[in-house]
């Protein structure tokens, strides 16, 4: 199991652009520490569409070059301390987005299209700070009708956690459909799951309806409760106390370092 996680991490390299999901959609916390231990550097993270603990830890551990995101926070546990500090220091580049723009970029990649148009945005400082986004006049309108084009987002890798997968590599993502465009858009997709099940999840219409097919999945590793301290929809709730404990500790870099080394041997919770 740990070796499966290490095998996945061995496929990751410094400088990669990595897409990770929103806190409630299935964050592969199980891969976070192995990524840090592997000494990855200069990662460009794409939060789909917002980030949390995983992003904050990777930033705190010095793995991150840039974060494209619509927000980073620890939710109920407050702001993301290492992320916020790094932004203020200018030690990472933050590329502010808005949620539907992240989705639009991934769906453009899903469709093999160069961009997707998105309403809104005009007049915002979000747009003003995105030289990669472009305002054009809607070519299908007779009237002046400015609209923003969001270029396709092609991550090198997508990483997430899900309840289950089968041995064929089919992953059950249920109604968390945003995980599918992440995988469609990425070159490689690595998934941790609470459990590996027998049989073929595609063989049945009911389970098949919630499956990301193996076609898009590079590797799966079993990691029970691998979203902890985040929760996993339909499986277990977030461990808010642990999130708060992290939030308090990580207010300083020293506190963060201490938290990370104290919890290093801890592994998954009982």
């Amino acid at each position: 199991m740990q070796s499966d996680l290490k095998r996945i991490v061995s496929k990751l390299h410094s400088g990669m652009r990595i897409a990770v999901p929103v806190d409630y959609a299935g964050v592969s916390m199980a891969l976070t520490r192995p990524m840090i231990e592997a000494g990855l550097r200069d990662l460009d993270l794409v939060c789909v569409p917002t980030g949390g603990l995983q992003v904050d830890m990777l930033v705190g551990a010095g793995c991150v070059r840039s974060v494209e995101t619509s927000a980073v926070s620890l939710g109920e546990a407050g702001g993301a301390p290492r992320f916020n500090a790094a932004v203020k220091e200018g030690s990472i580049k933050v590329i502010d987005a808005t949620c539907p723009a992240v989705h639009a970029g991934l769906i453009a990649a899903q469709k093999g299209s160069p961009f997707l148009p998105l309403r809104g945005l005009i007049g915002t400082d979000v747009l003003a700070n995105r030289p990669d986004w472009k305002v054009i006049d809607n070519p299908l309108s007779d009237q002046k009708d400015p609209v923003v084009l969001i270029p396709a987002i092609h991550p090198d890798v997508a990483i997430f956690h899900a309840p289950m997968a089968d041995r064929h590599g089919n992953v059950w993502i249920g109604r968390r459909r945003e995980l599918a465009p992440m995988a469609y858009a990425a070159r490689e997709t690595y998934v941790t799951v609470d459990r590996i099940v027998e049989g073929n999840l595609l063989a049945d219409e009911m389970t098949g309806a919630g499956v990301l097919p193996a076609l898009y999945v590079s590797a799966v590793a079993e990691a029970p409760k691998g979203a902890w301290p985040y929760g996993l929809w339909g499986e277990y709730p977030a461990d808010v106390d642990e999130l708060k404990r992290y939030a308090a500790a990580a207010r300083t870099q020293e506190g963060f370092d201490a938290y990370m080394s104290e919890t290093a041997q801890q592994g998954e919770p009982a």
């Binding site: 569409p49 927000a71 109920e76 502010d96 808005t98 949620c99 539907p100 309403r119 979000v126």
Partner: protein
Amino acid sequence: MSNVLPREILITTIARLLEGVRHVAVGASSPMPAAGAMLRRALDENERTVRLSILGSVEHNFFTNGSCELFDSAGQGRIDAFFLGGGQIDGQANVNLVGVGDYPQVKVRWPGSFGSAYLYFVVPKVILFREEHTPRVMVEKVDFVSAPGVSDPEVYRPGGPVALLTGKGLFSFDKTRPGFTLESTHEGESLASIREATGFAFEHADSVPETPAPDAATLELLRTRVLDELEETYPAFAADWRRDLAALSVPA
């Protein structure tokens, strides 16, 4: 002393602002907007179906297409009302969710713009809701525009702000001017106290009324059905409310 809690006046005001809507979306940690929408639903029960989507809630989640579905359905015109907060809100209803100081190396960094840069444009009734009403929140001009209050006429914008509700009062927004008008002050506040707490200029009538409290029937609905419904998703908030209600009933 009133026998109505300040939060009950806020919730009732929200429900009034939601009159006529069919589908309200509420952010994950927004108990008062959710309570306002639940009250609206209860009040309208025999007239229309009021749907309430609470992001991140299992019970109140009508979505099955991941986190993009909220934005897609807003783009389709299926969401009538939404709430926005903001670390800063200015007199043109610009909202800042990003930070204080010079971007990108801001002095104070907030989480980020979330979906505001889109939803503010496409949801017909956006209600600005922020309890803290101080000059550092209600500013003359935001440091970063996550979402603008108004747009040029050629910009596609079926949506936008209709009101700003704070812990001190209720403003309406006039996009033609553009600017806020103080509609009412909450119990204990005055035009003067609000002017002092507000960093932007606003209009007002010569005499500004007090924000109305709920009538007895509404208050009853609020403290029974709405409070019970709210408890499922916001247990901590509901417990606080119940505690405050218990304190109210202790004779002064």
